[in-house]
Symmetry: none
Subunit: 209 residues, 4 copies
DNA sequence: CATGAATGAGTGTTCATTCAT
DNA sequence: TATGAATGAACACTCATTCAT
């Protein structure tokens, strides 16, 4: 699917505002105004506000599907290292696409049968499958323990990142970094998340501290 | 603050609907109808929809503040056990008050300067302080390692629970328990969360597997 | 069904405007403005524009159902006289309720499955049944011929009235009475219609000229 | 006036949709889509939606002007027979051009000063004049009565046909022919109308039954 | 000559809130 | 104190039309 420049402008603005204020909390007028386009364009291009959300989600979610194929092929690298690479990859995507992930976190909560729910579900299942491949791979080589609850580990992985992204105010305050600029802050939490999650996975997967 | 029966009915309904559909996704008419009261009552009793949310949050959040005072006093119990008790306590509250926690997850994402944001912040800080006391206590006795990133562990604790609560559909599907009734499902995730989180905290705090 | 004064004001205005410009050609804002009420009142009172139309139609159509019960009971009056009374009654209603009949003529044309179509159908069937009773009565006494196509006579009755009501401009012009005031004009066409239709029915029903 | 193929396609579609849903009930997008042309074409070719209606009406109305010149010239045919021919002609046009006549019926009701109103008026006057010539001709030969209200007879002629065309649902139901296919139904009402109207005119014009 | 893109006005409806009682 | 009635603003969306190409 190819989008025109104006469509992309609308989608970018929508991503930002949906991330900030939620779907129902954002009016098409808000989006149109901030994107500098006519209100009617949104219906014209996307059919409806809801369709805009879905198309936006689809476009972005493609970029957020974790890929482990290359990792799996490299036989000289230990599985723990591969998991580390995946974690860093995931953390990068999360921190780099905060607006999108805020949308996902919020809409995930909502119990509705919209197309969006299915899109989120599909993305989560794709990412779960990627992690699974890696962990099962490590288990086969004996590098990882048996009896690992992969689903729970995934919940921890995603949940921990979500927490940091969604409660930045809180995190800034308890860390005494209220005035740090966003770029530096992102760098910081990227590092923090990377270290913390790698540690968690290492001890859980390998039993070593 | 004392609330009349009608006010409580409104707040209960509001909690449920805000949890399901979010703040902007829920109209005062929805609440009034489901609570069986006049629409005007909500403005009349609470001043506005937003004030209702804040008063609701305040009322419920009091019940969700973790308490560790009693735990700390008991000198015969190991700190790891105390942490376990806290985890179980937290998990119980989370699973038992899903509607409220969904509200919190969602509104946390929203970047607005409302009173609610401050209330959420305060609650999170209270709960962080509780965990901190316990972990620092354990560190003083030498039971726990030094250099533990308590804030990150808290993020993992809350984030993991949030993930399971908010993506029940996904969890049911990947676990092949689509048709399990809610009560049993809650029991199951309570157990899963308890085991998983205790394990994580143990290995991180004590270096033992 | 009881309506408040404001509701009746809305319905009256709606009747007038729907009659003049049709359903799609009349906006709820037009109605609200002319009735001197807030736009939201229409949805508030009637649920929707379409429901307003249906409720309006129902209210008015009750007054437009022809009644022949009393006529049938009077045994001293000839059936032709009874038919004359019915014709005069019908003509009076038609000329007196032009706005409503214009609505009916227009909406009858529209092929849609709305509730309105059923309401119109029901009214037409009720009125057909009334005529039928009278004609069949006259046939039983031998006063009227056999083999009368009642449905076609009804079409002629209603159709002729509809023509005069809907093409007043034309009628005024070909009769050289462009500037006659409405009251007098109504009186005139009432008389014309009465004479013409009675004549038609007489010759068809009795074979006498 | 010559129209290109595309213009004719637009006019045909417009006739159909205006007939079904009325002028305001039909959007230029509906027409463009069904005709398979670009939306802008309508404004481009016809200037505006309203102009399209007028040009459509003009084109079609030419075919609907009754012609009596040939009838009048034939001196060997009785005037009643000539009236019969005219009635059959009129019925054929009406039943064969239902979409157009529905437009006319509907727009006739509308009280607006558009060009369309004048076009309708002109057509009605032309057709009235045709009938008049025939009836006056018959009166001159003594074949028809004096004191015939030609305008009312015209109203009956047009009105009766309009009724049958516009309330097909009703007619099908009271005749128990709900499932008859359209072609057969048209044939039926053509016959019914022809018989009924000829009978009416005969008794009114000649005093014979 | 033809059209995809774009627009401002307008559509019916719902919103949180207020007011008279 | 409590509430049915009412309101103006906002909602998502569609309209007929225009314009650059």
């Amino acid at each position: 699917m190819e989008y025109s420049e104006k469509q992309l402008a609308i989608m970018d603005t929508a991503e930002k505002l949906f991330g900030q204020n939620g779907f129902s909390g954002t009016s098409v007028r808000d989006i149109a105004q901030e994107a500098g386009v006519n209100v009617a364009m949104i219906s014209y291009y996307f059919g409806s506000k809801e369709k805009l959300m879905e198309m936006l989600f689809e476009q972005k979610s493609n970029k957020l599907t974790l890929m482990v194929e290359n990792l799996l092929q490299d036989e000289n690298v230990k599985y723990l290292q591969k998991v580390y690479v995946l974690i860093d990859d995931y953390v990068d995507r999360f921190v780099g696409q905060q607006a999108f992930h805020k949308i996902m976190i919020r809409e995930q909560v909502t119990e509705n049968g919209t197309g969006l729910a299915n899109q989120i579900l599909a993305l989560k299942k794709r990412n779960l499958a990627s992690i699974k491949k890696l962990i099962v791979g490590g288990q086969k080589t004996g590098e990882f323990k048996k009896n690992i609850d992969i689903v729970m580990m995934m919940a921890t992985l995603v949940g921990t990142m979500s927490q940091l992204i969604t409660s930045q105010c809180y995190y800034r305050e308890v860390s005494n970094i209220e005035n740090m600029d966003d770029a530096e802050f992102n760098k910081l939490i990227r590092k923090k998340l990377s270290t913390h999650l790698k540690h968690l996975f290492k001890v859980v997967l390998t039993n070593e501290a």
